[in-house]
């Protein structure tokens, strides 16, 4: 078991009313799963993903990641945990515009205090793996959307995470590029990486092994 969520609630107070963003979520995810979270806009998909990624807090419930109780951990340990095991992929790629492809992929390693030589070889492997060696000195603005997303995935993978969280990874791509990215995820999943994606597309959801449907913060 990779992670487990029990009785999780998240709400905001608005004008005296409590609005539930997530309402009594139960979830267990095992290593090697490929989960798709679906649901209409505002159903809480991204919020759930952010909570799983430890970027966001919740109000009630339990969250255990690799048997560590996330809800009781201090900020610093939590950061170490997700730094170690989780990689993020975003709809709008979120590459740093001022850095080249090579440097963008290298960034996570900087915050883990890898030595320069180690970084070099890890980034080189990654560039090789995704066939983007020739683009390593380009800036994000010089790449197509699909290529940028590949860089985004490479960056998520560089620190060898157990879990990849992808928030509509193909949302900004055309269908052909989208297909490429989904195939990439499939391959990664076959290699043993756990993937949780948020998607609107039924077709993309079929790449996964399991679908979780959300409506108004509840699993349906």
């Amino acid at each position: 078991m990779l992670l487990e969520i029990k009785d999780l609630f998240k709400w905001v107070n608005s004008g005296g009313n409590r609005i539930f963003l997530l309402n009594d979520i139960e979830l267990t995810i095992n290593e090697g799963d490929f989960i798709s979270i679906m649901g209409p806009s505002g159903s809480g998909k991204t919020t759930l993903l952010n909570i799983i990624g430890m970027l966001d807090d919740f109000n009630e419930g339990e969250y255990n990641f690799l048997n560590e109780p996330v809800h009781t951990l201090k900020e610093k340990y939590r950061a170490n945990l997700y730094k170690e095991y989780i990689g993020f992929v975003f709809q709008s790629y979120h590459l740093i515009d001022e850095l080249t492809v090579y440097e963008n992929i290298e960034t996570p390693l900087l915050y883990k205090n890898y030595k320069s030589s180690e970084r070099k070889s890890l980034v080189a492997d990654m560039l090789d793996r995704f066939n983007i060696v020739g683009k390593k000195d380009l800036f994000p603005s010089q790449l197509s959307g699909g290529q940028q997303q590949i860089v985004g995935i490479a960056r998520a993978l560089i620190s060898n995470p157990k879990l990849i969280l992808a928030d509509e990874p193909t949302g900004n791509l055309n269908s052909k590029q989208g297909e490429e990215i989904m195939n990439l995820f499939k391959e990664l999943n076959d290699e043993g990486v756990t993937i949780i994606q948020v998607t609107h597309s039924e077709k993309n959801a079929t790449y996964g092994s399991k679908i979780i449907n959300l409506l108004d913060g509840r699993v349906v």
Partner: protein, 792 residues
């Protein structure tokens, strides 16, 4: 990691060239101003610190109480220094007198304007370095001369001057060169190119002067023994004076108080005059101004960086997601601001070294040959730059590094009102400083123009003044020049307005018929003086050749003097008796008060007499046309009649306003700094305006779609900034009014700070701010709304 930060920083700077320019340029301008002022202040504070015994050297000054007033800032009587040596606390005394002396060697003649007479201990008390000669004996014998290195070169070239003879004074006394000294450093309160032994005066020219207690002489310096209680010593002086000169003081009604001023305070803090004087007030004012300018530059930096934080928000979010800790991000942003300040540091070095020559000119002296002369200062500047980078970087860094990734990555992120209060307060402080400096500048300049336009009570235009150095042929010269065809009027006198004049122990018959003792300022003039200077007569008659007695027995007073002796109308004073400097006679006329001294001082009681022996200045009323050729003809006459002295002249109006040189300099510096402050503030405003405008693009787009006109959007965008400037105006007005009122107190004749000064300053500030802001606002207002909304 550092390399990654560095790369990001450089690329960011490059990508946002305008912002980087504003930041770096603004910071380096501020730092340059600050650095130059630092050099100036440091130089002012360095005066006389090269004397090893500085702590033990004191200057003796005498404030003299007369029946009518207290005259501050005289040297003590000639007799005081030789006798004061009897105190066990005193280990040496030196009198130093500056003079203008004619030097002649073979066919070389120079009027040495910076000559000094000094007692024998000059080179043992002070640390002016002797290159040749024995410091104990060089100034011992009469007619001994010590030359500075450069004047030695002037007279002797590469020959050895020691033992050579130079003729000094108009009477060409042969004198021997006994020593060569290094040129006296600029930061010395005593300045001179040549030093002549004081014994020349005390033993030859004016024998017995060492025992004259009523004859006030040059400033004297004492070297005290280590551990001397200065106040204790000062308290013994009254008894000392009483013992030696009690009778003399009662006779002349002049009662001196002797005081000791620490040498290190004389230049900046003493108001008793001296060879070269500084002003501690200026040092304070400029230090404060420098700090304020640097503050403005730093505020720009903080404001622009925080305002731009939304731009960096995405990067912060990503970095946090991929594992950056808060402190790592803070370090990165602080690093960036240090980088900017270091680039500004390099720029400051370049700009300062380029500006240094003109700054030296502005300051009126060479405060520094080159900025790298003292590596310590460069190091200090470097550390300051790093300090500024750290300080200015901390706040933006804290803001930036505390962004939550879930918020900033969600989509468009707006800094909104976060930190806007701080930004507003910072803008207000910038404009408060700027407006205050503008008001200061206007007041300084209106005072200057007030003084320039005030009727001084005498004719100051078209008067050429020639300094004859009291040459014995001056009367022949006067005759020769008055014979020239195009000269209207010529007059010889001891003083012209602005030169300074002696004051004399006088006894004048007052309204009660008693001879009242007073200390009167004194002009020695000739028969043509009053008419040449067009001084108005209010009673009696001017000096006239028709009255033989006018040569010795006539006096003219001004209205101030008449009032002092109790006469309610000037006519009453006519025919009254006077005694002054060994002459006695009658008052023949009363003249209207005229400003014979700087407008800083009220018009003092003045007496005029004719005494041909005391004449020095030749005033010539020249026609306005063919000025150049007139000067040439005058010079020709001079060369014929006084061939051995250089011809030097000036125009009276220029000379008179030279008294305000330090005020003028002050005004110029003030103007420059005010301009700088407003420029920097606007630079910051420009950046801030363009940024908020950029942030409100969407709002502007929506408003335009709803039908807002260009002018209403201009109004919307400018209003916020104008509000800040208006607030600044109300803060700056009372503060600057208070300080400028204080500054004006130095002038006896001063302009009023009218309400218009504040209006003008306010309008200038608002206009400049408006232009700055609307430049950006207009761009946003006329843009097509479809474009701005599409990018959302």
């Amino acid at each position: 990691m550092i390399r990654n930060y560095f790369k990001i920083a450089i690329r960011n700077l490059w990508k946002h060239k305008a912002f980087s320019f504003i930041n770096i340029f603004g910071l380096s301008v501020g730092m340059t101003a600050c650095f130059l002022i630092f050099l100036y202040v440091n130089f002012e504070l360095s005066y006389d610190n090269f004397h090893l015994k500085e702590d033990r050297i004191y200057r003796v000054v005498a404030d003299i109480k007369t029946p009518t007033e207290t005259i501050n800032g005289n040297g003590p009587s000639w007799a005081v220094p030789p006798h004061i040596s009897d105190f066990p606390e005193v280990s040496a005394t030196v009198r130093v007198l500056s003079d203008v002396i004619l030097f002649k060697k073979d066919n070389l003649t120079f009027n040495e304007t910076e000559s000094l007479w000094a007692d024998a201990d000059f080179f043992t008390v002070f640390d002016y370095k002797l290159l040749k000669g024995n410091p104990l004996t060089v100034l011992k014998e009469p007619f001994s001369i010590v030359l500075s290195e450069s004047s030695a070169k002037k007279y002797f070239g590469d020959d050895d001057p020691i033992g050579q003879v130079i003729q000094i004074t108009d009477d060409a006394f042969p004198s021997t060169v006994t020593g060569i000294m290094e040129d006296i450093p600029v930061n010395s309160q005593i300045q001179g190119d040549v030093v002549i032994s004081m014994t020349t005066i005390t033993k030859k020219f004016a024998e017995g002067v060492d025992n004259q207690w009523g004859n006030y002489g040059p400033f004297a310096y004492l070297l005290l023994k280590p551990g001397t209680n200065v106040e204790g010593l000062e308290s013994k002086f009254p008894a000392f004076l009483e013992k030696w000169s009690g009778k003399e003081m009662n006779k002349t009604q002049m009662f001196p108080t002797l005081m000791l001023e620490p040498l290190k305070d004389v230049y900046l803090k003493s108001d008793r005059g001296g060879f070269v004087t500084g002003n501690i007030k200026n040092v304070y004012v400029f230090s404060i101004v420098a700090m304020l300018i640097l503050l403005i530059a730093c505020i720009n930096f903080v404001n622009l960086t925080t305002a731009r934080s939304s731009e960096r928000a995405k990067e912060v979010g990503i970095r946090k997601v991929v594992g950056a800790a808060k402190f790592q991000l803070a370090r990165q942003f602080i690093g960036e601001s240090v980088l900017i300040s270091l680039i500004a540091f390099l720029l400051t070095l370049i700009v300062s070294s380029l500006l240094l020559p003109s700054f030296n000119q502005l300051a009126g002296k060479t405060i520094s040959q080159g900025i790298f002369d003292t590596p310590l200062y460069t190091l200090l500047l470097f550390l300051t730059a790093i300090g500024i980078g750290l300080l200015a970087g901390i706040y933006p860094a804290l803001i930036l590094s505390s962004f939550k990734p879930t918020t900033v990555l969600k989509g468009r992120f707006s800094t909104g009102t976060k930190g806007s209060f701080l930004r507003k307060s910072l803008v207000i402080s910038q404009f408060t400083i700027s407006i205050a400096l503008i008001i200061g500048t206007i007041v300084v300049y209106s005072q200057m123009s007030y003084m320039g336009n005030l009727d001084l009570g005498f004719k100051k235009d078209q008067i050429l003044v020639v300094d004859t150095n009291s040459d014995k042929n001056r009367d022949i010269l006067k005759q020769a020049i008055s014979d020239l065809s195009n000269i209207k009027n010529v007059s010889l006198s001891s003083s012209v307005p602005g030169t300074g004049n002696p004051s004399a122990y006088s006894e004048i018959e007052n309204i009660k018929g008693d001879l009242q003792v007073a200390n009167l300022d004194l002009y020695f003039v000739d028969f043509d003086y009053i008419s040449l200077f067009d001084i108005q007569l209010v009673a009696g008659r001017p000096f006239s050749r028709e009255f033989k007695t006018d040569n010795t027995q006539a006096m003219v007073l001004n209205e101030a003097a008449v009032k002092m002796f109790g006469y309610s109308s000037p006519e009453q004073a006519i025919g009254k008796r006077f005694k002054q400097w060994g002459r006695e006679g009658k008052i023949i006329g009363v003249i209207k008060d005229f400003h014979f001294q700087s407008l800083k001082n009220p018009i003092k009681p003045l007496s005029m007499r004719i005494e041909a022996d005391r004449h020095d200045y030749l005033s010539i009323n020249v026609p306005s046309s063919n000025l150049a050729s007139t000067i040439v003809t005058v010079e020709k006459e001079w060369k014929k009649i006084i061939p051995n002295k250089p011809f030097s002249y000036y125009f009276l109006d220029e000379f008179f306003s030279r008294q305000y040189k330090s005020e003028e300099q002050f005004g110029k510096l003030f103007l420059n700094f005010a301009l700088l402050a407003i420029f920097l503030s606007c630079l910051g405003l420009l950046g801030l305006a363009s940024y908020t405008t950029m942030q409100r693009t969407k709002e502007i787009g929506i408003r335009k779609v709803m039908g807002a006109s260009v002018s209403s959007i201009l109004n919307l965008l400018s209003r916020d900034f104008l509000k800040l400037v208006v607030i600044s105006f109300f803060v700056a007005t009372p503060v600057s009014w208070y300080f400028m009122q204080k500054w004006l107190m130095d002038f006896a004749y001063r302009t009023n700070i009218g309400w218009w000064v504040f209006v003008v300053a306010g309008v200038i500030a608002i206009l400049i701010a408006l232009i700055t802001v609307s430049f950006q606002a207009l761009k946003a207002a006329i843009a097509n709304p479809i474009k701005s909304l599409k990018t959302e």
